[in-house]
C-alpha cells in the first residue's frame, strides 16, 4: 500500500516540479500561468497523497520526509514525468501522454474501497479533467497549426512514445493494490487511454508513432539520470538545512 501511494504521489510531484521550471519562461503570459496552475494542482495532489502515506507509516513521519529525504532509487514515479521540458511542444506532448493516463486513472480510483483514496481521487479528477482538456487543445493547435509547430509536436511524440508503455504496465505493488480492492486495474483503463490519445492525434492531423520497445523501470526505482538532478535542486534546502521550516 505504501509503495502504491508513493507511486501516485511521486508521479504528481516530479511532473509538477518539471512544469514549475516553466514559471516565468512560458511562451506567453497566459500559457505561463496555465502551466503554473497545472503544476500547483499536481504538487497539491502529491501533498495530499504524501500526508496520507506519512500517517500510514506512523513513526512521526511527515510529508516532507517523503518528498525531501528519499533518494533516487526510492522514488516510484514513471520515467515519462522526469524527462526534460525541451521546447513547448515537447512539454505539451509529455503532459498530454500523462494526462490521458491520469484522467482515467483518477476516474477509476474514485471507486477505490479505501475511502481516503477515493475522496482524494474525486477532488483530483476535477483538476485533471481540465489538464487533459488544456493539453488536448494544444496538441490539436500545434499539430494542425503551422509547418513548424506540426514538425515540433510530431517529433515530440516520436521521442516520448516509448515512455508510454510504462504508464499502463503494472508493477507488483499495483497488482497487489488491485487485489486488495484499493487500486486501479490498468488493464481496465488501457483501451480508454489509448482511444483518447489516438482521437486527439487524429484530430491534430498527426501520425501515430509505431509501438516498439518501451522504457520501464521508474516504477521500481530504476530511473534515468534526470531524476538525480531534479532531486538535487528540489531537496537541496532540506538536505543542507535539515528541518528548516518557513
Amino acid at each position: 500500500m505504501q509503495q502504491y501511494l508513493l507511486h501516485i504521489a511521486d508521479n504528481a510531484l516530479i511532473l509538477g516540479h518539471r512544469l514549475s521550471e516553466w514559471c516565468g519562461h512560458g511562451p506567453a503570459l497566459e500559457i505561463d500561468m496555465a502551466m503554473t496552475n497545472i503544476s500547483l494542482d499536481l504538487i497539491g495532489q502529491a501533498r495530499n497523497m504524501y500526508q496520507y502515506a506519512a500517517t500510514l507509516e506512523g513513526d512521526g513521519k511527515t510529508e516532507d520526509d517523503l518528498a525531501y529525504l528519499r533518494d533516487v532509487p526510492e522514488f516510484r514515479n514513471v520515467l515519462l514525468v522526469e524527462q526534460v521540458n525541451g521546447d513547448f511542444a515537447n512539454t505539451i506532448a509529455r503532459q498530454f501522454l500523462f494526462d490521458t493516463y491520469h484522467y482515467f486513472f483518477q476516474q477509476q480510483l474514485c471507486e477505490s474501497q479505501d475511502p481516503q483514496l477515493a475522496a482524494m481521487a474525486e477532488k483530483s479528477l476535477k483538476e485533471v479533467a481540465y489538464h487533459l482538456r488544456w493539453t488536448s487543445e494544444w496538441v490539436i493547435r500545434l499539430g494542425d497549426g503551422t509547418i513548424e509547430s506540426k514538425a515540433r509536436i510530431q517529433r515530440a511524440f516520436q521521442d516520448l512514445w516509448s515512455f508510454r508503455g510504462e504508464l499502463l504496465t503494472p508493477a507488483l505493488y499495483e497488482t497487489e493494490a488491485v487485489a486488495a480492492g484499493v487500486g486501479v486495474d490498468l488493464g481496465a483503463i488501457k483501451t480508454a487511454v489509448e482511444q483518447k490519445i489516438f482521437n486527439v492525434l487524429d484530430e491534430a492531423t498527426l501520425v501515430r508513432p509505431t509501438d516498439g520497445w518501451m522504457h520501464a523501470g521508474g516504477k521500481t526505482g530504476r530511473h534515468s539520470e534526470h531524476l538525480g538532478f531534479i532531486l538535487a535542486e528540489m531537496q537541496f534546502l532540506q538536505r543542507a538545512y535539515p528541518n528548516a521550516a518557513w
Binding site: 503570459l29 497566459e30 500559457i31 496555465a34 496552475n37 481540465y130 488544456w134 487543445e137 493547435r141
Partner: protein, 94 residues
C-alpha cells in the same frame, strides 16, 4: 506581419445573480483559447462562476474628446438621482 494573438476582453460573474464585470484583457487566437486563458489568468482565486470573453475589436468606445458633450449635461440634473426614496433594508445590490 503582426504575430501577436488578437486581444480579448474578459468579464467575470462573481456570484450567481450578479452581473458580469469587466476584469481585464488577454491574448488568444480564438474564443475557445480565450475562455481557457481567462480561466487560468482571472479565476485562480475563486473570482467567478461564469466567464464571458469578447473580441476587443468588437467594442465601440466613446471618444474622450466627446466627453463634454456626452457627460457634462448630466451634471446639474440632480433630480434624476433616486435619492429621495427610502430603499427597504432587504433590497440588495442597489
Amino acid at each position: 506581419m503582426n504575430t501577436e494573438f488578437p486581444l480579448w476582453e474578459v468579464f467575470i460573474r462573481s456570484h450567481g445573480g450578479l452581473q458580469h464585470k469587466h476584469v481585464g484583457s488577454l491574448h488568444a487566437v480564438d474564443a475557445t483559447m480565450a475562455l481557457e486563458n481567462a480561466r487560468d489568468v482571472y479565476t485562480r482565486r475563486q473570482e467567478g462562476v461564469s466567464i464571458w470573453v469578447v473580441p476587443s475589436n468588437a467594442i465601440t468606445a466613446s471618444d474622450p474628446a466627446d466627453s463634454d458633450a456626452f457627460f457634462e449635461p448630466a451634471k446639474d440634473k440632480i433630480y434624476r438621482h433616486p435619492t429621495f426614496y427610502q430603499v427597504p433594508d432587504n433590497v440588495k445590490h442597489m
